[in-house]
């Protein structure tokens, strides 16, 4: 639980910081404290595709990464290995986490070496907003995004001088501190530094690996689950002649964490460590009217260096359970260019081109002879799109075509029986057409839909193996997806002065996705190997989103997702044809109600996740039962000229730590057994947790 010393230190430090800030104000003269501006109008309203925009600028001790901000959104399912800072993957509309592409300011974070982007390694301190594209993503974010895309948008400098700082603490040793500065003008700056950490030693229900025998069940404390992370983000922007703009950004991240293991009695670790470092350098130049008054050019370049060290010197029961010391590095460089030309007043053409080269070097420090050779992948894309406005701009059509090509190379040559005997090169090219449409039927009703044909290339590990438990499969084909959605958005805003700032928004979407050549890791007698599944995997669902805002005192939201998944036309594993995918709930609903009065507010949140199958055969009784997690919080501030806000929130309010797991099979009909509250790979989740954050923001 929350350490009292941590609370006192937190409050003391924040008060000291606030006092210092007050002195700075006096010295600088009058500085108006302004409420944080609303997130700039994002793509949520105007885009033909379904997209959610989340404000990422609310500091909280319980929010260490992107993962902690998006869990309640429609269509989104995050799964973690338990606790603050733990590995977290995201699925959108039932996709596999490998199929969700993640970008930071347009820079792809999903690289050839890693199939899944760990959301817990994406800090939020330098972010302004998070855009979640649940359907067909924009032309520039399409690469690899067959399961949707998440675009992280960095903070930009803004007029004036703005200081922000926050400090917080919470249960299980959670602690955080961040500071940031933004200024605007001809040269705009936003700089932020953030630290998050936690001991992660929450108590959970340990069933000791015996589902039937309860005599050995006991409460246990999570060990080796601590983490420390720092993030530094700087963006600089400057105006150029003729409304042009240049900007550069630097995003550094370092995280050191324990790798706790499953956690059942004796299956935990003490020393296994994972260290992750990443540096992203990016820059862009925008120049309107470069080749004519209606032609705009934007060029982006980026350099990414990532490094991951894993150490399990004693062969503790994590990873392969063997002694391991690995050091892998990825370096990527890319260039993107976009030309936009307005044709008349109602049409905008976009020409987009990109190229990126990635190099992945794995290094097994204990067993160098077993190292896979370095992999290199070159990708290029060329895309053209149109945005046509018809019927007095009420109808927008956005047809587009994107061509992607990739060449993957592993040296020296590698061959696998019957499949690409001649070497390890893997080349593919793909055309991806898509169409979006949006129709504003009335001032309060917008109908929109999108469809597209996308692909995801296999990762280096899926193609070439890891030299250990994943066998090479160079002939692996890219996954392809045919996606589409159709939705309507209703927005009511009464014009009565007594109901100013009151708004009701209702949104409903039907969506479908059909994936061919679905890539899954399947076992052989020797190890795992990536394999294209025969047949198709289909997803069909509904999203319902409601937003209510009544003046300044009430805001409420409800996000519901119904999802039906289906493995169809193939039966790679026994009896999976026609069955639902394991781990994907049919029903998921998240809600939030916030009441505010003056500087005070309180909120309640709930997230209900329906039953999820534990096996691809959907065996009777073999599922994790539905559960609901509650949260409650309150905030006070800012107070007049004192720009401090104190937020206290309780997660997992009911302290749910044990669920009744059905024991499936003919001999267990109707029987359940106590089982820990678990998530990804059945790793335990924490019970009730309290967090407090004191933030200064002007």
């Amino acid at each position: 639980m929350l350490d009292r010393r941590t609370i006192l230190l937190t409050i003391g430090a924040l008060l000291a910081l606030a006092t210092a800030r007050a002195r700075a104000q006096i010295k600088l003269g009058t500085v108006e404290v302004e409420a944080e501006r609303e997130v700039e109008e994002g793509p949520e309203v105007d885009a033909p595709a379904a997209v959610t925009v989340i404000d990422a600028r609310r500091p909280s001790a319980r929010v260490s990464s992107v993962a902690d901000l998006i869990e309640r959104e429609a269509g989104v399912q995050v799964r973690s290995t338990g606790g603050l800072g733990a590995f977290t993957s995201v699925s959108i509309r039932g996709s596999d986490p490998t199929q969700v592409a993640v970008f930071l300011d347009g820079v792809p974070l999903q690289h050839a070496a890693s199939a899944v982007v760990d959301l817990s390694q994406l800090p939020v301190g330098g972010l302004e907003r998070i855009e979640i594209y649940r359907g067909v993503p924009p032309l520039e974010l399409s690469s690899q995004a067959i399961g949707g895309a998440i675009h992280l948008v960095s903070r930009r400098g803004r007029p004036g001088a703005h200081l922000r700082a926050a400090i917080g603490g919470g249960s299980f040793g959670a602690r955080s501190a961040s500071v940031g500065y933004a200024s605007g003008g001809r040269l705009s700056v936003d700089a932020s530094a953030a630290y998050h950490g936690a001991r992660g030693d929450f108590t959970y229900y340990d069933y000791s690996g015996t589902l039937i025998d309860h005599t050995d069940d006991h409460p246990a404390s999570r060990r080796n689950n601590a983490f420390d992370q720092v993030a530094l983000d700087v963006t600089l922007g400057s105006a150029l002649a003729r409304r042009g703009r240049v900007s550069i950004g630097s995003h550094g991240f370092l995280k050191i964490q324990g790798v706790p293991g499953r956690g059942t009695d004796g299956a935990g670790s003490r020393d296994a460590r994972l260290s992750t470092g990443r540096l992203i350098l990016d820059g862009s130049v925008e120049q309107p009217g470069i080749l004519g008054p209606a032609i705009d050019l934007r060029i982006d370049a980026h350099l990414v260096y990532g490094r991951t060290l894993f150490s399990n010197a004693r062969g503790e029961p994590v990873g392969s359970y063997l002694p391991a010391s690995t050091d892998s590095a990825t370096i990527a460089a890319g260039l993107r260019g976009r030309l936009q030309a307005a044709v008349g007043a109602h049409e905008l053409w976009t020409l987009f081109a990109s190229a990126e080269v990635e190099h992945f070097r794995p290094d097994d420090l204990l067993y160098p002879r077993g190292n896979p050779a370095p992999s290199t992948r070159v990708r290029a894309a060329l895309a053209v799109g149109d945005d046509v406005r018809l019927l007095h701009d009420r109808l927008a059509l956005t047809p587009a075509l994107r061509l992607d090509a990739a060449l993957s190379h592993l040296s020296p040559g590698l061959d696998v029986r019957g499949q690409q005997e001649s070497g390890a090169n893997s080349a593919s090219a793909f055309a991806s057409p898509r169409l979006g449409a949006r129709y504003r039927a009335t001032s309060w009703l917008t109908v929109r839909g999108s469809a597209g044909y996308l692909q995801r290339l296999p990762t280096a590990i899926e193609l070439f193996g890891d030299g250990a438990f994943i066998l090479p499969r160079p002939s692996l084909r890219p996954e392809t997806a045919l996606s589409g959605d159709l939705g309507a958005r209703l927005e009511f805003a009464p014009r009565s002065p007594t109901l100013s700032a009151t708004r009701v928004t209702l949104e409903g979407n039907l969506f479908s996705r059909q994936i061919s050549d679905y890539i899954a890791l399947v076992p052989s007698s020797h190890a795992l190997a990536a394999q294209n599944l025969p047949g198709e995997v289909r997803f069909l669902g509904v999203e319902a989103i409601a937003r209510l805002r009544v003046a300044t005192w009430l805001t409420a939201s409800l996000d519901y997702t119904f999802l039906h998944t289906l493995a169809a036309g193939g039966d790679l594993a026994a009896n999976t044809d026609g069955k639902e995918l394991p781990g994907v709930p049919r029903h998921r609903v998240g809600g939030r109600v916030q009441l505010a009065g003056g500087p005070f507010s309180c909120f309640y949140e709930a997230l209900r996740t329906g039953d999820v199958w534990r096996d691809p055969q959907n065996s009777d009784g073999n599922f994790i039962p539905a559960r609901t997690l509650h949260a409650l919080g309150a905030a006070a501030g800012p107070f007049g000229r004192l720009p401090l806000t104190l937020t206290v929130e309780v997660r997992n309010l009911a302290d749910l730590r044990v669920v009744d797991l059905p024991l499936g099979g003919l001999i267990h009909v109707g029987e359940t057994t106590p089982y820990p509250l678990v998530d990804r790979y059945d790793y335990p989740l924490p019970g009730r947790a309290l967090y407090a954050t004191l933030a200064l923001q002007n």
């Binding site: 690996g209 004796g266 399947v522 052989s524 007698s525 026994a574 055969q617 009777d620 001999i667």
Partner: protein, 425 residues
């Protein structure tokens, strides 16, 4: 049983050499020990102790859906009638996703490699209310024990469990079924191989014969992903009367490396075939094969057929008679920079001549088992994953006449999930 004092001393000295690299007299070789003779009388009349096993009428098959994509795996328990081939699926769907099954003494025993548990089912009671026992104790945790095989000690409530994940001092656990909450009640240490750096003997399968439990010991180097054998495999004899390694010629050094299962070579239990998988991440090089062992003389009788002649590493061996046995092979071809995994294939061999008689199955990505039924009439082949190009053989359990020539049919029995292990009761 009688004991030869001289032999006992010599063997103790040999164990001391193995364990502590020091002994007052030169170490004895296996040949030396063979000359001395057996430690105990394993004449046929003294073999097959315990109550006679009733004729099996059913096969019990464990299945697996491996965990992936963030989801844990699962396993089922299923039965197949030996005469009518009636399948009763999903009797219990709560068993581990990495499991093993044995049937002894009228009980079905299921091991969970991942969590370190033994479940004891009584088929006569409809498999209901299984007993669950940890393969560890307070100090040596079950979760990392990786139990590989279990054998009930005749005329007792004891069971021996080989613990692949444990060090030499805890390589075999003794469980008292009468006190399931105790877990392992006694540890049986196995002598550690000198060249094995990981401290784990990798104790694998158990074969009961003449008051002894014979345990295959693989001595693999787990400090690298290749699981390289550190030397020839061993069979270690545990004296069931003492619950300790037999101090009289207790170690049989094999010719091949990485021994897996046993199969009787003939009707007695004292002459067995072992499947030595060798260095199974490399193309076969003669380091493994099918080996004949005399448990009476406590010595290897030599290779029946080498893995290089089989063109695959034998994962298991199941004999119908002295002239017909089936081996489940892992096929690895020479390649660069690394050798290539091809798949699994079941072949028939003649152990009496060491001849490869022919293939029984197509190459599958994962053929989990190939076992002859207790009445020697049928061959059960469990295909967990087909070849991913040909999609053959199909997933399920094939049942064919065990005549050495009949190949797998067109359609296997559907047992719900991919089959993983089999036993007969």
């Amino acid at each position: 049983m009688t004991r030869n004092t001289t032999t006992t001393l010599a063997a103790t000295c040999t164990f001391a050499l193995l364990a502590a690299s020091g002994c007052g007299t030169p170490a004895m070789t296996a040949a030396d020990m063979a000359k001395i003779g057996p430690a105990v009388d394993l004449a046929p009349e003294n073999l097959d102790i315990g109550t006679p096993v009733p004729v099996a009428t059913n096969a019990v098959v464990t299945t697996v859906a491996f965990g992936s994509m963030g989801n844990p795996g699962s396993g089922h328990l299923t039965t197949v009638g030996l005469t009518d081939q009636k399948v009763t699926k999903a009797i219990d769907t709560s068993i581990g996703s990495d499991n093993f099954v044995r049937a002894e003494g009228g009980k079905v025993l299921v091991l969970d490699h991942t969590n370190g548990t033994l479940r004891v089912y009584d088929p006569k009671a409809g498999f209901k209310a299984p007993v669950e026992i940890k393969t560890g104790d307070m100090t040596q945790k079950a979760a990392t024990s990786n139990p590989h095989d279990v054998a009930l000690v005749p005329a007792s409530s004891k069971a021996l469990v080989t613990l692949y994940g444990n060090d030499a001092a805890h390589a075999v656990g003794l469980i008292d079924l009468a006190t399931p909450a105790m877990g392992v009640v006694k540890w049986i240490a196995l002598p550690q191989a000198m060249k094995d750096p990981d401290g784990k003997p990798e104790a694998s399968e158990i074969h009961l014969c003449g008051g002894f439990a014979f345990v295959t010991v693989q001595d693999l180097d787990e400090t690298n992903f290749a699981f390289t054998p550190t030397g020839p495999g061993r069979i270690i004899a545990i004296d069931l009367a003492k619950d300790a390694v037999d101090t009289t010629m207790g170690v049989i050094t094999l010719m091949g490396a990485n021994p897996n299962g046993f199969s009787r070579d003939g009707t007695g239990c004292d002459i067995v075939l072992t499947a030595d998988a060798g260095s199974q991440f490399k193309a076969p090089d003669g380091g493994g094969g099918i080996e004949r062992v005399d448990l009476t003389l406590r010595k290897s009788l030599g290779m029946v057929i080498k893995d290089s002649d089989l063109k695959g590493h034998p994962r298991e061996i199941s004999a119908k008679s002295k002239t017909l046995a089936y081996a489940n092979l892992t096929l690895i071809e020479k390649g660069a920079p690394m050798d290539k995994f091809i798949g699994n294939q079941v072949v028939a061999i003649d152990p009496s001549t060491g001849k490869l008689l022919g293939t029984i199955s197509q190459v599958g990505s994962f053929i989990a088992f190939a076992q002859v039924s207790p009445d020697k009439s049928q061959l059960f082949v469990g295909v967990h994953d087909p070849d991913f190009v040909t999609m053959m053989p199909k997933i399920g359990v094939y049942v064919v006449p065990a005549d050495g020539t009949t190949k797998l049919g067109a359609t296997p029995l559907d047992i719900g999930q991919g089959p993983y292990a089999i036993a007969f009761y």
